[in-house]
């Protein structure tokens, strides 16, 4: 049952990402060139509604379907970690036009060569795990 819950939420997400063209390399290129509002509209409206939703969940102390309170864990403060990590991620995002969600969705769309991007991303994650202690955080 839980399996189907996660699977169907993921399926919804894949359809949204495809139909909004957020999986398109062109849309990401266009966003970084500030040529169109499309991607800013998607991310901006998602964040505004997200802020309102999270505030309401906290205010009314909603419980999850598991019966436990919905909690949010604050992220540890650091500047180099998020700035350096974020910049490296941004380089890759603008190159492949795909962040991790769209990577999976593009594979479902039949772009089998994106499996190479996924495999490289796993290698990159592995490399981070190995080098982690030597990087500024």
């Amino acid at each position: 049952m839980k399996f189907l819950t996660y699977l169907s939420i993921g399926t919804l997400f894949g359809i949204i990402m495809t139909k909004s063209q957020a999986i398109s390399w062109y849309r990401i290129y266009e966003m970084f060139r500030f040529d169109a509002f499309h991607m800013y509209g998607i991310i901006g409206s998602a964040v505004i509604l997200g802020i309102i939703s999270v505030a309401l969940i906290k205010k009314y102390k909603f419980k999850s379907t598991e019966g436990t309170p919905i909690t949010f864990s604050p992220k540890n403060m650091s500047i180099p970690r998020y700035l350096f990590g974020g910049t490296i991620f941004g380089l890759g995002w603008a190159m492949t036009g795909a962040c991790p969600g769209p990577i999976y969705t593009l594979i479902g769309n039949g772009y089998s060569v994106i499996l190479v991007v996924l495999f490289s991303a796993i290698l990159g994650t592995m490399a981070y795990g190995i080098l982690r202690k030597r990087l500024p955080h």
Partner: protein, 191 residues
């Protein structure tokens, strides 16, 4: 039913897609999970025995299996959308974007989701294709974990929870994205 499918097959505008992405995040919160796709890459490393090379991968990955099921759904969603909800028209890109890309040798911008000159198996064995796919993917995986999250974890989940670290990460995403788009891509695309 047929008209519903026809309606859904149109490209979805931002004001439909954005709220639905927020809805996805809220659904995950209500089933007791948090929205963050790049965690699946770390989980994959852990399942593959990454704990032997770094304690970063030495954790109970069973608690993260739900996220692998979620991204399996994202694959299925992509399949459903491309099989039954496909729109025939090209992507309505900004004219400036189209002209710039044609200048850089992309012949038919917006005809498909991806430029076929770069995203194909034949291209993988060219210098340009290798850099775009292999190095690009590596930077995504490395950077997402270094920053502690990707677009979903920071830009959507983190900003929704008003996290300053996520804002710094998103600023980083744009620094990297702008360097790539304005300085590096013009070189890489003409390799």
């Amino acid at each position: 039913m047929e008209s519903l499918i026809e309606w859904m097959s149109q490209p979805w505008p931002w004001y439909v897609a954005g709220p639905l992405i927020a809805f996805t995040m809220v659904l995950l919160l209500f089933v007791g999970k948090s929205f963050g796709v790049s965690d699946t890459l770390r989980t994959t490393c852990a399942i593959g025995g990454g704990g032997r090379v770094s304690d970063f991968f030495d954790f109970d990955w069973r608690k993260q299996v739900w996220n692998l099921i979620f991204v399996l759904g994202a694959v299925i969603g992509g399949f459903i959308a491309s099989t039954w909800l496909q729109q025939p028209e090209p992507i309505p890109l900004a004219q400036d974007t189209v002209m710039k890309l044609q200048e850089l040798g992309i012949s038919n911008p917006g005809a498909d989701y991806l430029p076929e000159e770069i995203f194909s198996w034949e291209s993988l064995f060219t210098l340009r294709g290798f850099v775009m796919l292999v190095i690009g993917g590596f930077l995504i995986g490395f950077g997402a974990r270094y920053a502690g999250g990707c677009t979903s974890g920071h830009a959507i989940s983190g900003l929704s929870n008003l996290q300053v670290p996520s804002l710094i990460a998103v600023v980083g995403f744009f620094i990297g994205g702008l360097i790539m788009t304005y300085l590096l891509l013009p070189v890489i695309l003409t390799l």
